[in-house]
Symmetry: C2
């Protein structure tokens, strides 16, 4: 399909200046981003004779920008949304989450992932970095629905999460070949759920494939203290000492890093994926975002799973990234909103190895969203990027396109989805598990 | 107009249980809330022969609840949204906000308030507690648009804010008679912008009318320290010692209260209006919400003005009320979501002296909203009230009704508004002030 978006404001994220003009999509790619007006003249510039449009969309001055990259989630945990809130963290995990997860099967995860995909689209999220129990069925749900998905192994010593390294290696091959929308990373659940032997084997795998590794890392103070007791050093130092990060990667949460940990992140070009909604709701603490930025560490943003957040909303996360930094530093100038927009787009693409989705430019993948500026919370137009971070909400997402396909527009999903059936299934599954 | 809402889920806020049934509106009031089905049987129960519906609305299982009460705002500050963010607090106030406010006139405030009203409606806010420079034109904008508005005097020693107590007293009469949608409270800007003599005179006025008083109170640590330097006691103790709160009232922000201050709040039945979005963005700190609840202090929620937030979104505020408490207490169980829903509805009505708007019940004002549960972030339906607080967003607001009038429905405003003209005016005003 070929789309022409005209009368658009465009935030390419190559800069944070707003361009006025148009954007053309041909099949899965962006063909043109630039000044608007004379289609024939643009065709000439592109050395094409003409182009047959499937749709020409008058953006009415609304904003196009790259879709948001949700750099840490557990999509299928939708079934536990608002199932057990306002509980102490350990009770929540051990009495509510783990027993319920033990009952899940791959088919359930397929259906529950679909519910998450719907929500991603309403929030302008065009790619997710997912870790969960049955990667095959998560991949199936995402690919069927047209959602871009990078999965990471959650191997651990615990039951449920894929227990075998051989299985991870097999998936590294099969799930990286599945579909252009899907890829798969080496990873593990967390230091505290793996034996040292297992961690060493994961590091060997990273070396074998010269691959980056991601994991839950220094999410809670208790986690870091536990590692100190077990090994006498922090999780980041332990993993680095095993050669885990010799080919890059990074951590999810990264709330409790010390200066030496950060130095390792800088040196190894690791990404700190921050999850402020989850860290707030579970009282895990404040990630030192200002410190990461000062050191030039790549920071990306994730929602975490919907059991611990409880929503999959990049607008909430963006506000919290800068808001919590301001509170932590007691400085209203901490972490500029423009940095936050970069985290939610470009930096996520870098972390997830999706370089063709980072900015809006000719040749890049057509993963983009339209923001409705004709809404009161976007007015007046003093500063559109800051409006997005400080005032934006799901209600502003007018369109979400992934790989050149419009999956959500004007509050409605593509007709390819049976939305009510997805809701029905999710309720049936949680009903059957209670 | 008479409306019948059927096939509804109803959260009356008399309890937090969900009722399945219907709700009838006659003119400005709720006529019936209860089990659904047989209209004739309900009519008989109500001792009426029959009723002629203007509209019968199939709620399709969606949720009705009382509209949110925004218990602290400066509506017209929309013009400064995203005008000057990511600045230290004092620079922001003295170099950006004050010089721009000095250029405002009543007509501008009229137009800028209208923009805020649009945004309130998208967030399900049906009443606001406003303090700003020209109460007459704020009232005019709200009444014209059908927004319920309680204004509070912002008298202070500073230029701009109404400098004369005589004027406040005059407004106390005129603006309390203006319209059923409008009322006016005695108040003042803040301790730090008023002389002691002025504060004493406000207290005299409170006694004369046996009236509650509201003010900005202990928002920042610096404010409390300044008062300690000037008077040797905290702002709350100073004001109480002047008899300011002998007839009730309360404070906006209330971030830095000590145990003695809280004891005064408890004894005088004062309301602490919390503004977590603003306190986050301006790095003012964490209000001690758990402490307030333990003492039985009435806590309500406000957005503060859009220059310091930057949006007027009760969903963001609700998440932050409990989220910041969880972070402050390092306890994921702090401040239950159901308490937060009460703050956003019932407690706000109590603070604003709007007892007819607190819950959904026969005889109450028809100030209510419909929440779209057929959205992915509201599914599955494990716990609807917790979904609202932890996962809800503006995109879930399907309808906003004030005094029996539907002002916003399915993403569109009532045709009585010229929405694009309101946007144009707001942009023109900020353009002219630069």
């Amino acid at each position: 399909m070929n789309y022409r978006f005209y009368n658009a404001r465009i935030l390419t994220m190559q800069t944070t200046d707003i361009l006025e003009g148009e954007l053309w999509v041909q099949d899965d790619k962006i063909l043109y981003v630039g000044a608007g007006g004379d289609v024939a003249a643009i065709c000439q510039k592109l050395s094409i004779e003409s182009i047959l449009w499937d749709r020409e969309i008058d953006c009415q001055g609304n904003l196009l920008l790259p879709g948001f990259k949700n750099a840490h989630t557990h999509s299928a945990m939708t079934f536990l949304r608002s199932y057990a809130d306002d509980l102490p963290l350990q009770d929540w995990l051990t009495k509510q989450v783990f027993p319920m997860e033990a009952k899940l099967d791959g088919e359930m995860i397929y259906h529950l992932t679909k519910l998450a995909v719907l929500e991603y689209l309403t929030s302008g999220i065009t790619a997710v970095f997912d870790m969960y129990l049955t990667p095959e069925t998560t991949a199936q749900a995402c690919v069927e629905m047209g959602m871009r998905c990078v999965q990471v192994s959650g191997v651990s010593g615990q039951e449920g999460f894929e227990a075998s390294l051989a299985k991870m290696e097999e998936r590294y091959h099969t799930l990286n070949q599945l579909d252009p929308l899907h890829s798969y990373f080496i990873g593990f659940h967390a230091e505290y759920t793996c034996s040292k032997a297992l961690l060493e084997q994961v590091a060997v795998m990273a070396h074998k494939y010269q691959a980056p590794v991601f994991t839950h890392l220094s999410e809670t103070k208790a986690e870091v203290e536990g590692c100190m007791e077990r090994y006498g050093i922090s999780p980041v130092k332990l993993l680095d000492s095993l050669g885990m990060f010799d080919y890059g990667g990074g951590g999810y949460h990264c709330v409790w890093l010390d200066a030496e940990d950060m130095e390792i992140f800088r040196k190894r070009n690791l990404t700190a994926v921050t999850n402020p909604g989850s860290n707030t709701k579970l009282a895990s603490g404040f990630a030192p975002i200002s410190e990461y930025l000062k050191r030039g560490i790549n920071v990306a943003i994730g929602t975490d799973g919907p059991a611990s957040n409880n929503c999959l909303d990049m607008f909430r996360e963006m506000f919290l990234v800068t808001g919590l930094a301001k509170l932590k530093e007691q400085d209203a100038a901490a972490v500029d909103a423009l940095e936050v927009l970069k985290m939610a787009t470009v930096n996520g693409s870098l972390a997830m190895n999706l370089p063709d989705t980072d900015v809006l430019a000719a040749g890049k993948q057509a993963d983009l969203i339209m923001i409705d500026l004709h809404q009161p919370n976007m007015q007046p137009l003093n500063n559109i990027p800051k409006n997005l971070v400080y005032s934006g909400s799901k209600q502003n997402v007018k369109m979400t396109m992934i790989r050149g396909k419009i999956l959500y527009e004007n509050g409605a999903f593509t007709k390819a989805y049976d939305v009510e059936e997805i809701y029905r299934k999710a309720n049936e599954i949680i009903g059957s598990l209670r």
